[in-house]
């Protein structure tokens, strides 16, 4: 049976028994809950169309339509429960999986995703995203950190300093995410911390997405003269593993945690091992 929930003293994560996907997150300390779904999708990379010959490539992100394709509708999942950690393993496809993790006394939900090798046997370039969909009333606003420090407010289909005519409804709303992206309404803030720089956006109210991997078949003719098609060690494409930390809090309190946690992610420790048979040493 698919797991339906996992819980520590800070969070409860619920899963849809039909689909196996995350269906809600509850901050138990603050008594707030947010029904949401999280899943993986891919944009079909443009190879150029009647409007423009521009293909999606290393420099250019240009999906050929606004609606991404879900990797799957249902995931196979199972729960591993220990005293230090609870983990739900979700298998989306042969090239996409995720572990939803709650450590016993950590105030965040960890999503560890593994993607690749992205199949391109169908001759379609793929740009894979992790997307969170909720009912938050965000009024077209979302927030990303531009440089790892200052969080900037972004407004969908809008630029601060000129009147924008949006021609790329997806790519035109993507922004750099170096450590965090969040959406909020009056009562709740959903924050996602990244372990590396990614692109991110909120294309509809209550939705938040991060691009996690791309594999493309055409050059974008911007000077690279190669498609973004890494073969990797085994010549079948690369596998990428990364983490997103998900926080649900009130807008007033959210920064308290996401700032300290993001710094902890950025400056995580290096593990150094020794066999323990050392000799006394002095730098003098």
């Amino acid at each position: 049976t698919s797991p339906t929930k996992m819980e520590n003293k800070y969070y409860r994560v619920e899963f849809d028994p039909e689909t196996g996907l995350i269906s809600g997150i509850y901050n138990l300390q603050k008594g707030i809950s947010l029904p949401l779904t999280q899943s993986f999708y891919w944009y079909n990379a443009s190879i150029g169309n009647a409007d423009s010959a521009q293909a999606s490539g290393a420099y250019i992100f240009r999906p050929n339509q606004s609606n991404p394709v879900p990797v799957t509708q249902n995931v196979r999942s199972y729960l591993v429960q220990n005293s230090l950690v609870q983990e739900v393993y979700q298998n989306f496809s042969s090239w996409c999986s995720q572990v939803v993790r709650l450590y016993s006394d950590q105030p965040y939900v960890e999503l560890e995703w593994t993607l690749g090798p992205i199949p391109v046997g169908d001759h379609l370039g793929k740009e894979v995203i992790s997307r969170f969909d909720s009912k938050l009333q965000t009024n077209g606003l979302f927030y990303t950190d531009a440089n790892g420090r200052q969080v900037l407010q972004r407004r969908r289909d809008f630029r601060e300093t000129w009147s924008l005519v949006q021609t790329e409804p997806v790519a035109g709303n993507y922004y750099p995410v170096n450590s965090r992206i969040y959406i909020k309404d009056k009562n709740m803030q959903l924050t996602v911390l990244t372990d590396r720089s990614q692109g991110g956006s909120s294309l509809t109210d209550g939705s938040l997405e991060l691009m996690v991997q791309r594999r493309l078949l055409y050059d974008d003719a911007r000077g690279v003269a190669e498609p973004l098609l890494e073969c990797g060690q085994y010549s079948e494409g690369i596998v990428v593993r990364g983490r997103h930390l998900v926080l649900l809090d009130t807008p007033q309190d959210a920064a308290d945690l996401h700032r300290t946690l993001a710094l902890q992610e950025y400056m995580s420790p290096q593990i150094i091992l020794s066999s323990g048979d050392g000799v006394p040493y002095s730098s003098k």
């Binding site: 290393a58 420099y59 591993v80 220990n82 005293s83 230090l84 950690v85 393993y89 298998n91 999986s97 572990v99 450590y103 006394d105 950590q106 593994t114 911007r222 690279v224 003269a225 190669e226 973004l228 890494e230 085994y234 596998v239 593993r241 710094l263 902890q264 400056m267 995580s268 420790p269 290096q270 593990i271 150094i272 091992l273 020794s274 066999s275 323990g276 048979d277 050392g278 000799v279 006394p280 040493y281 002095s282 730098s283």
Partner: protein
């Protein structure tokens, strides 16, 4: 002797926008990666020397770069080993440490010699599928590590029999 110069040079080269965003040709990206790797290799000596000074013990320190896919020959094979964690933050922090192992039971002792709660869990199929021939750990040892601000903690890990593990747990209780 040790120097961080190689890494500093590699980081200097990697300030180019192609390196930051990965928009270079593949062989150029491979070169950025190689430079960073060589920089990291030389910095391991820097860290080893610093740790020797801080601990007052000269040891053969090892670094595992593939822990994210549960690969570390040192922890997979050793019956006992030490784990050092340096905290670069200006406040105490807690991290969960996961190390690939092949034993069934381990005892972990913290900096003051007290037993730290730990557990051994199977390595997931997801991880086994992607690491290929690069490691064969069947399990992961997990424990919670507390590290002081701008300082380090040393944890001692010892492989135990399941009976010993039971004894330690009972005694602790």
């Amino acid at each position: 002797t040790s120097s961080s110069l190689t890494l500093r040079r590699a980081m200097g080269v990697a300030q180019h926008h192609d390196a930051v965003t990965g928009t270079a040709k593949q062989h150029v990206n491979d070169d950025y990666t190689l430079r960073l790797y060589k920089g990291w290799e030389t910095c391991q000596v820097v860290i080893s020397n610093a740790l020797s000074s801080l601990t007052g013990t000269k040891e053969s320190f090892t670094f595992c770069n593939l822990l994210n896919i549960s690969v570390c020959p040192t922890t997979e094979a050793a019956k006992s080993f030490n784990v050092f964690l340096y905290n670069p933050l200006g406040r105490a922090a807690t991290w969960y440490i996961r190390l690939p192992v092949n034993g069934v039971a381990y005892s972990v002792r913290g900096p003051s010699g007290d037993t730290v709660t730990s557990e051994v869990t199977p390595v997931s199929k997801f991880t086994k599928d992607i690491r290929r021939e690069r490691g064969n750990a069947e399990r992961e040892l997990m424990f919670q590590a507390q590290v002081p601000p701008l300082g380090f903690s040393k944890f001692t890990v010892q492989k135990t029999s399941t009976q010993e593990r039971f004894f330690i747990r009972t005694k602790k209780r």
